[in-house]
Symmetry: C2
Subunit: 215 residues, 2 copies
């Protein structure tokens, strides 16, 4: 299931099929894919607000700032769409590894090593989703201040999606860390995750409330 | 742009195309569509957790409850996917109506009447999205308590998506109400929205924190 053929397996599906497969008992897509998608939707909305601002005489003074902003949001949108695919791949490998035989001591050793590797990879992907979502959130104050005021509600939706993506990714990091045996890996990743989550619900509510006052 | 041909216009696009068009300066999809999609993703995750529970001997005691739960989540998922399409249609009509001529008094009268109708329709859709998201959130406590414990993080992601969908829909209701002239319609809808929003961030955090303790 790895490699070039899988590259766009999920994002090449229709929205309808994605939702149908999500709702099914198939191993993927699941919450990890939704976390990445949520972040990508947030980044896409920031890009949209920028694209509705660029070239408008009323916003000529902030043209360069908005051009710089949309570069960042587009880069994050692509990163998050790729992470959606990577999450499915990592989860598929983990799922296959879990089914490896563990009858003999040798099998147990081989399986334990493979599980360690697969679990760390399956933790790494949502951690990168969490980081990218934090980076999307960081674009929202400037988008609210300088973006087309007719689209200010879309910045609000953008930060809601990015923050939901961040905390969704966090749940997927935690569910994997629960069974990782390498204690240093667990404590390092918990610390990293705590730092990413710190202050983000407050930032979300600050921007959301600011957007509401502008409506 | 109305009618059967538009029925699945958005959800028949690939996830990649949906994200590309979201990020562009095209009038749709925008924040309203993302609100409905976020709710549908939340509902889909609750369905997934139910489908990973049904038929498992370990969960035989809750089989009937879970069967009833997945009926509700699937109904809400379909409703929210339809609302995604309806939002695009309502927004497209509103966008066209805004461009109607307003040079003569007669044109002004015709346009004002059309704007009133289009704005009320464009308010009604996100209000129904908000209601459906609240209904998705209401399924989460039971899904957390009775669903397959291996998928508990997916209930957590589900409630995050449903609550982000609710507040995203709220922003889309408010941006339209801002320019509706019918004062009774505005105050009735503000009241309805306040009721829908009331207590929901607390419910989201309660379920999220409960899920974290189970990881």
């Amino acid at each position: 299931m790895e490699g070039a053929n899988m590259a766009n397996a999920m994002t090449d599906k229709t929205v309808k099929t994605f939702l149908d497969e999500l709702a099914s008992n198939a191993p993927a897509p699941g919450g990890g894919s939704v976390a990445a998608l949520s972040g990508a939707l947030g980044a896409g909305l920031i890009s949209m607000v920028c694209n509705l601002t660029l070239g408008k005489p009323k916003y000529a003074a902030v043209e360069n700032d908005i051009a710089a902003l949309v570069k960042k949001s587009e880069s994050l949108r692509k990163e998050l769409a790729n992470l959606l695919e990577e999450d499915v791949q990592a989860y598929t490998i983990l799922n296959t590894t879990m089914k490896m035989p563990k009858d003999t001591d040798e099998q147990k050793t081989v399986r334990a090593k493979a599980m360690d590797k697969a679990l760390k990879a399956a933790t790494d992907v949502p951690m990168r989703v969490a980081e990218a979502c934090v980076n999307v959130m960081a674009l929202c104050p400037e988008a609210t201040a300088k973006g087309n005021s007719n689209a200010v509600s879309d910045v609000g939706v953008g930060i809601l999606m990015a923050e939901a993506g961040l905390r969704s990714a966090a749940l997927n990091v935690l569910i994997n860390l629960k069974i990782v045996k390498d204690e240093k890996f667990v404590s390092d990743n918990r610390k990293k995750l705590d730092n990413l989550l710190s202050g983000k619900p407050a930032l979300r509510d600050e921007i959301y409330n600011l957007v509401v006052t502008k409506l």
